[in-house]
């Protein structure tokens, strides 16, 4: 399996962050994992990466309900960034609200990135499949 250079985990719940990290440690080869407590912090991180000409993350795990800037607001800003590479964004949410599902469809259509919708809890058996970088 190809080694993934950079993974972002954006979630305000430390247990979820811990869980995803732990699963990735077990199943995926990667160089770095960065975690952010809300969308704003993550966006700032990406802008910094872009500014410094460093590699942008290939896979992002994105929570929806977060303080300050939620997952949708993050996506809104992210998809307009000048990123040519196709980034894999895994929405990971405990929400079963159909409105959230619709929102996902909306952003998926709008963006050239690969956006998937996943409901918590993520299983160890699934994590490898959704961490394959987009092609």
């Amino acid at each position: 399996m190809k080694i993934i250079n950079s993974i972002f985990i954006i979630d305000d719940d430390p247990i979820t962050v811990f869980g995803i990290r732990k699963m990735l440690d077990r199943t995926v080869e990667f160089n770095t994992i960065s975690t952010y407590g809300n969308g704003k912090l993550a966006l700032d991180g990406i802008l910094k990466v872009l500014k410094n000409g460093k590699a942008i993350p290939e896979v992002i795990f994105l929570d929806i309900n977060m303080p300050i800037m939620d997952g949708w607001q993050f996506l809104e800003e992210f998809i307009v960034l000048p990123i040519e590479e196709k980034v894999r964004i895994n929405i990971v949410t405990s929400s079963i609200d159909p409105a959230d599902y619709e929102n996902w469809g909306h952003y998926n259509d709008k963006s050239h990135h690969l956006i998937t919708f996943n409901t918590k809890p993520i299983k160890c058996s699934e994590i490898a499949a959704i961490t394959k970088p987009a092609e």
């Binding site: 719940d13 247990i15 979820t16 811990f18 869980g19 732990k22 309900n65 303080p67 300050i68 607001q73 405990s94 929400s95 079963i96 609200d97 409901t119 918590k120 809890p121 993520i122 299983k123 160890c124």
Partner: protein, 616 residues
Amino acid sequence: MLKSSQIDPNNYLIKQLPKATAFLNKKLEVIYASDQWIEDFEFSNGKVIGKKIGELLTHLSKDLQKDFKDCLKGNNGSGIKECYNVKDNPKKWNEWTNIPWYDEKENIIGVIVQTESITQKINNIPNIERLQLLIEEKSSNSSIGSWQYDAELNSLWWCEMSKQIHEVPKDFAPKIETFIDFFKEGHSKNTISMAFFEASEKGISWKEELQIVTEKGNEKWIITTGKPIYKNDKCIGLVGTFQDINEQVITNKKTEENELLLRTLIDSLPMNVFVKDLDSRKILVNKSELNFLGLKHESEALGKTDFDFLNKKNAQIGREEDIMVMENGIPMLKKETTNIKKDGTTTSFLTSKIPIKGANGKITGLVGLSLDISDLKKKEEELKNLINVTSLQNKKLVNFAHIVSHNLRSHTANFSMLLEFLVSEKDEEEKQNLINMLVEASDHLLETLNNLNEVVVINTNVNLKKQNICLNKKIKSVEKNLSVFLKNKNVNIINNIGDNVKIKAIPAYLDSILTNFFTNSVMYKSPDRDPIIKLSSSSENGYTILSISDNGLGIDLKKYGDKLFGMYKTFHNNPDAKGIGLFLAKNQIEAMNGKITTSSEVGKGTTFNIHFNENN
């Protein structure tokens, strides 16, 4: 003697007689003649005496010739009407009265002739006939018959029309008893008997509308008149008329019945009916309309316009509708109108206005029908409110369901994940770590459940009653409870609320609301300055408004406005923020039928306006 007649004094005497007179001898030669006679017949003077009457008047009728002969035999003549042409004149008529002419010895010596011009009389005859015809014609057309009563002879006479009216044969001989007997028993007979008596005894004329029963048994309405005739101050009889008015009366009765029916109908209609003329003056209103106008009698409304009853603006709208309908001839159908009377009472109507056309096709006014739909409107309004409340409740419920599902699911998802790790974990230290996390997740779940429970209680506890609360008293008690917290943070509360301001609220909720907003203001204080909380109150549209302003961080409402009061929504990097305080406060305010509005400027501060409903 005859020859010297010209100088005969007799002749001179006769000549001067004022009447047309001539003396003829046995040969019917004119011996003497009055000037009048000569003038009447337009004979030339001097050529008359000695001439035979037959020469003077060429076409003597046989009757007259016979009359002369009779006279010569000693009989008086019988008065002959004779016509002849005088020159170019139209016919002239004379009445001849001839008598024998005797001498002193009673010998017949000729005929004395006296004539009287009756041309005018004769010419009048056709006039009288015409007049009679006219009367007959009139009497048959107008169905007016006449009658006469001769008191001396106690005889009654009916004209033909009178007989027709009574449906008796032409040869019927009316008597004074039958006259009265024809009248219908009861009122009619009593009235005519009395009238007849009063006329003959007191000379009072009558004109009565009464019913008769004809010979054939038909009941009929007639007008009968009677008038006494006097001779030397003595009533010698009566004259009068019968007029058949049966059809009229029946038609009138029918019309009256129809009118009554129509009137009953429009008065019983459960809607307002009115008819207006071209100037929008009411010319008919039904009972419902009268009731609406607050009047008792139709006469109070007739001739008046909406301007007399409704407020000016309202009446003007009505007048404009009237004009549209009457000018274009197009009915206005089922328009929803609101009528405001001068006393301010408001009624909703479903109004139709239909133009009325006269016989010549021109519009003469309009008929209006207004159905009072105030109750319907009220119910509709209630229904709308109910729908609003229901949909609001529904929205809340859906919202709550999402909160529950989201918040509970996030914790259970963590449980599930952590347990999956735990099952396969070999490392004891890591196991302990996972167990710690499970305990943490459990605590969070418990807390979430408590919060949710609190929301459920707020939204379902209908037993808590609102009370009149002095706002300042409550503020002071909350300040006291928070005194340590406020002192530690150097909070300055500036209270501009008067001690007399009272609100209707559930005390426990008000406690919680005030506590939440105060701590919220402090929690999101600006790092550059000590917190200042300003309190003020105002009143608006049935709400008492408590305004809480702070000089804190402020919040970008464009970005976060719709989430400000959401559960577990936090907007600043504040470790103490749980995103539950404003959520609960909002639920409590809404549970008391209040609402909350917010204004904020990033970096300057936030103002919350809490609307307390003044009604229960």
